[in-house]
């Protein structure tokens, strides 16, 4: 054995091989890149952010009170004309009296019908010539010309005395042209075949005091009768009580999104704890826990909701949001629990978990390093899918009247109200329905994108 000739040298390791061509990406960075590539998910994400801004910041920008009723502008669609003429204060009208004229068998039409004063949205005043032999008169109003078929329209009033030959119409007047027809009645109330029609071009008016109280002008003395003012601006129109649709949508979104985000947040947390406990323990404990989850799934939601209302002592005039939230949290967690449990069971058997264990990893480390990141995708996806379903449940319950109490709006109750006037004023239904649809769609597509982006196994495919 020769000595001293042997020299040990450190072998040169070729570091080049290990050079990273791209910066190392964390799980979240990687997921974000994949999400950004998914255009639909990205647009949905922007929509969700916009909706949150609409809800939280909207009321600071658009400071209209959602409960204030603008009775001069009821069921006004967006973009309607809103100029009004300033008029004198309303004073009751004494009417026009006439001496009844005795007459023959056939009732003739009134010789003339006259519109007194300027016809306005406050009142249209009519008077006519007495008809010989009439026992009274009936006044009709139409939006369309009664000729040629004599469709007189709405019977607006009956005057059961021949001594009165005038009528003041104040019923729901709009700024349009009306056709008024006066038909004489015989002594027993029978209607004559002849009538006289007059047209009235109604102008929209507002009194100076009213305009000032609504904040349209500074002082009532600033304007004089005949001037024009602009009525309050309602960008999305008004509802059946003249309430601003935009303000109601913003405030309604608070309820809808509050329920939609808070309820899923809580039941997903419960689901994670429950599911991971079941998955971790396995065996009999797992069986028992999951059978209990099955039992909860079988409970009918609506019945539970009603019971909770009684338990919470919610009177019919109170808001049902509390019991709704509790019912959702109590009944909706099993879906999340099942998913998480399935995931945990699967991960528990993975080789890297076994290796990690052999290397001496503690339970805490296993859970935090391996389990949670690997179930995170499932959890987030469950959450984003739960949001639209919760929003929908809230809308449904408010629609059937078990949600918010008036005057608090919610998208669901707004749909319910809009449905009644769907054919005449569709904007009252379309706006809240569009908001519900867009929100639900955005959360669904975002959830879809997140599922793909957060799936850890997808890293291998790139």
């Amino acid at each position: 054995m020769a000595e001293g000739t042997l020299s040990w040298e450190r072998v040169q390791v070729e570091r080049e091989v290990e050079t990273v061509s791209r910066p190392s990406l964390s799980y979240w960075q990687d997921a974000w890149i994949r999400l950004k590539a998914n255009r639909r998910a990205l647009i949905s994400l922007y929509l969700v952010v916009a909706l949150l801004a609409f809800t939280v910041l909207g009321p600071f920008v658009w400071t209209v009170n959602p409960a204030a009723q603008d009775l001069d502008q009821i069921s006004v669609p967006p973009g309607a004309d809103r100029t009004a003429t300033v008029a004198e204060d309303y004073t009751p009208w004494r009417g026009v009296a006439a001496t009844p004229i005795e007459g023959g068998d056939t009732l003739l039409a009134p010789a003339s019908v006259t519109v007194a004063d300027q016809p306005t949205t406050t009142a249209v005043r009519l008077y006519w010539d007495a008809v010989a032999g009439a026992g009274g008169y009936r006044v009709y109003r139409n939006k369309y010309d009664p000729e040629p078929d004599g469709a007189l329209g709405l019977p607006i009033a009956e005057i059961l005395s021949p001594a009165n030959v005038s009528f003041e119409d104040r019923l729901d007047l709009k700024a349009e042209t009306y056709f008024y027809s006066v038909v004489p009645l015989d002594r027993s109330g029978g209607e004559s075949a002849s009538y006289t029609t007059v047209t009235a071009d109604v102008t929209r008016v507002i009194t100076a005091a009213e305009a000032a109280s609504k904040g349209l002008i500074e002082n009532a003395s600033d304007v004089s009768p005949g001037d024009t003012v602009k009525m309050a601006f309602h960008p999305l129109g008004t509802d059946y009580l003249g309430r601003d649709m935009l303000a109601r949508l913003m405030h309604g979104a608070r309820v809808s999104l509050f329920i939609g985000i808070v309820a899923p947040f809580f039941f997903v947390i419960i689901g994670i704890l429950y599911g991971s406990a079941a998955g971790f323990m396995g065996g009999r404990a797992d069986q028992a826990l999951m059978r209990f989850a099955d039992f909860v799934v079988a409970l009918p939601f609506l019945l539970f909701m009603i019971l909770l209302r009684i338990l919470f002592n919610v009177e019919s005039g109170d808001s049902g949001i509390g019991p709704m939230l509790v019912a959702m949290v109590l009944l909706s967690w099993p879906a999340a629990a099942r998913l998480v449990r399935g995931q945990i069971l699967q991960i528990r058997e993975e080789g890297y978990i076994g290796a990690s264990r052999l290397l001496g990893a503690k339970t805490n480390y296993l859970v935090l390093r391996h389990m949670i990141p690997n179930t995170m995708g499932v959890i987030l996806v469950t959450l984003t899918f739960a949001v639209p379903s919760a929003i929908f449940t809230e809308a449904f319950l408010s629609f059937i009247g078990m949600g918010v109490a008036p005057p608090t709006p919610s998208w669901g109750s707004m749909c319910n109200e809009g449905l009644k006037t769907m054919l005449t004023t569709p904007h009252e239904l379309i706006a809240p329905a569009a908001f519900i649809s867009i929100t639900v769609l955005a959360f669904n597509l975002l959830g879809d994108g997140l599922r793909d982006a957060l799936d850890a196994r997808m890293r291998a495919t790139e």
Binding site: A37, N38, L71, I74, A151, G153, L154, P155, A405, L423
Partner: protein, 567 residues
């Protein structure tokens, strides 16, 4: 649906791997969904066709049949126990009492040919030709039997009070006296003698009410508790009989050949083929020429104008008001709180801007404008001045109320309402009105009819939106509503002066004295702000142009088709 399915599918963006639900499959889903919805639509249409097989055109002149919709299944056709409008309507067409209203709304003889009403007795002589639908003659005993039945405590009739004018009626109804002591006797088969507890000047109007109808005792007993449960469990004496009654689906009335005045009846059959209260369903049936009459709501007035229908209106006689709870433990017992609410009330605004239906009149008095007074209309003879809303006065009264009640600020009140969309709309209007003008917060408690009645009876409210329809054609039907002894005085309004006035009005036989007393009732209710009257209800409707002679009225059968004919 097809439009959505035809939309070209945008291409799938490159480089996005594993997108679970790609757009192409979304398009396919929409396409399949479209087909599914179309198939479902066809199926539903077929079902609808099959379902409607039984019902004919709105008006069929060949068979003399008209088809109509009805508010629902009549809940109780036993005249001694019926309480609702639908049952009274069917009873009005199939039964006849001693007297009835004719097409001009005048009282004429029904089963009775002559009658005489004195201060303490009333006598009715029955027609010999009046018969039951099985051919048996109608006798005075049939009236004695049914009137005793109404007051029999075991029958628990809710309308028993309407017979309280009869001698011993109240005691009999409480079970303190035997049925036989009731003041109604059959002198012979064709003479009915009635003994009255006190003078009832409007007794002739009372006997036209359905609760006073006769019932054949032998037939009643033969049904063994099933009386009026089905078409064959009833014996008819009116212009029509029930020919077919499919529970929950339809009722068909056919002309009664045994009716004594059968020549007057020109329709052969009335087919109530649809049970619905949905205004849109009712109007659609009319549009499709399936029914001959339809009531309109404010939402479809424009549609009706566009179709150039001939629209009619009538007042159904009912008055709607906000009733306060006057019980000891309620804030609304405070006079100034009620006065504050009364002061800001604006009935014209409610009627012209919120309800928007022609026919409704802004209300001020509990007594509607159509009631007859001494010579003419009651309200023209005894006008009630209701000043326009005065917010200043309202706030003044509220400040006094807050001080008297020792409150920190404007209170929160519970408003009990029905569950109809109109009621909700009005309640929201009032909620905002009271909040804006007085700062009072209102909690709206919407309940179905039965539950609302139960809560009203229990006094579980501060304010309640209530209404009252007339039972008979006399101001008394409204005047005694807020008497302290009246069960229907749900707010327990208690005023000795009002009770005294009601007592005079119901027992005096002098019309002027009676009407003066009614006017006092009207004034007390207003001055004390016992209630705030909102509106007098009216309605507008359309009917088939060939169907003539329909009578709409406030008191009595409405709508009344007994005198109708097809032109």
């Amino acid at each position: 649906m097809s439009e959505i399915a035809d939309t070209p599918s945008p291409s799938v963006p490159e480089g996005v791997a594993g997108t679970g639900l790609d757009i192409r499959s979304l398009g396919q889903i929409l396409y399949l969904g479209g087909i599914g919805v179309a198939a479902l639509g066809v199926l539903l249409w077929l079902l609808a066709q099959w379902n409607e097989g039984g019902a004919g055109e709105a008006v069929d002149s060949a068979t003399g049949t008209i088809t109509l919709s009805l508010g629902g299944e009549p809940p109780q056709l036993d005249s001694t126990r019926g309480t609702d409008a639908v049952s009274f309507n069917i009873l009005g067409h199939t039964m006849e009492g001693l007297l009835r209203y004719n097409a001009e709304n005048r009282l004429v003889g029904g089963v009775a040919r002559d009658w005489e009403i004195g201060d303490t007795t009333a006598t009715f002589w029955l027609r010999p030709e009046a018969r039951w639908s099985n051919g048996e003659p109608i006798t005075a005993h049939d009236f004695v039997f049914s009137w005793r039945k109404v007051l029999d405590p075991r029958n628990a009739s809710e309308y028993a009070f309407i017979l309280y004018g009869l001698k011993n009626a109240e005691a009999v109804n409480r079970g303190e006296m035997p049925l036989e002591s009731l003041g109604v006797y059959a002198v012979d088969d064709r003479t009915l003698e009635v003994h009255l507890e006190r003078p009832v000047p409007y007794f002739d109007k009372l006997v036209a009410f359905a609760t006073y109808n006769p019932i054949n005792e032998a037939f009643y007993e033969s049904r063994e508790g099933r009386y009026a449960a089905d078409a064959e469990d009833l014996l008819y004496n009116g212009p029509f009989t029930i020919a077919r009654w499919v529970h929950g689906a339809g009722i068909r009335l056919e002309k009664n050949p045994q009716y004594w005045d059968a020549d007057r009846i020109r329709l052969n059959a009335i087919d109530y083929a649809y049970f619905t209260t949905d205004p849109n369903a009712i109007i659609n049936l009319f549009k499709d020429n399936k029914t001959a009459l339809a009531g309109l709501v404010a939402e479809n007035l424009d549609d009706a104008l566009q179709r150039r229908w001939k629209i009619k209106r009538f007042s159904d006689g009912a008055v709607f008001f906000m009733e306060f709870n006057h019980r000891e433990d309620r804030l609304t017992r405070n006079y100034h709180l009620r006065k504050a609410i009364q002061a800001v009330n604006d009935s014209p605004e409610l009627v012209y801007r919120i309800i928007k239906l022609p026919g409704n009149l802004p209300g001020a008095s509990l007594f509607p404008v159509w009631l007859k007074g001494v010579d003419g209309y009651f309200r023209q003879e005894y006008p009630l001045t209701d000043p326009p809303p005065d917010d200043e006065a309202g706030r003044r009264h509220l400040a006094l109320a807050i001080e008297e009640l020792g409150l920190d600020g404007p209170p929160t009140l519970v408003m009990l309402i029905g569950d109809s969309p109109t009621a909700k709309k009005q309640a929201e209007y009032y909620q905002n009105l009271y909040k804006q003008k007085l700062g009072i917060d209102i909690k709206i408690d919407a309940q179905i009819f039965k539950q609302r009645l139960a809560k009203m009876t229990a006094g579980d409210f501060d304010l309640v939106m209530a209404g009252w329809g007339p039972d008979y054609d006399d101001p008394m039907t409204f005047a005694d509503l807020f008497a302290s002894w009246n069960e229907n005085n749900r707010g327990r309004f208690d005023s000795p002066e009002l009770d005294e006035a009601v007592d005079i009005a119901r027992s005096s036989s002098d019309t002027k004295t009676r009407m003066d007393a009614m006017a006092r009732v009207q004034q007390i209710l207003y001055d004390e702000a016992a209630i705030v009257v909102n509106y007098e209800r009216g309605s507008v409707y359309v009917s088939h142009p060939r169907l003539k002679g329909i009578v709409r009225r406030a008191v009595g059968t409405d709508p009344d088709y007994t005198g109708a004919w097809i032109d």
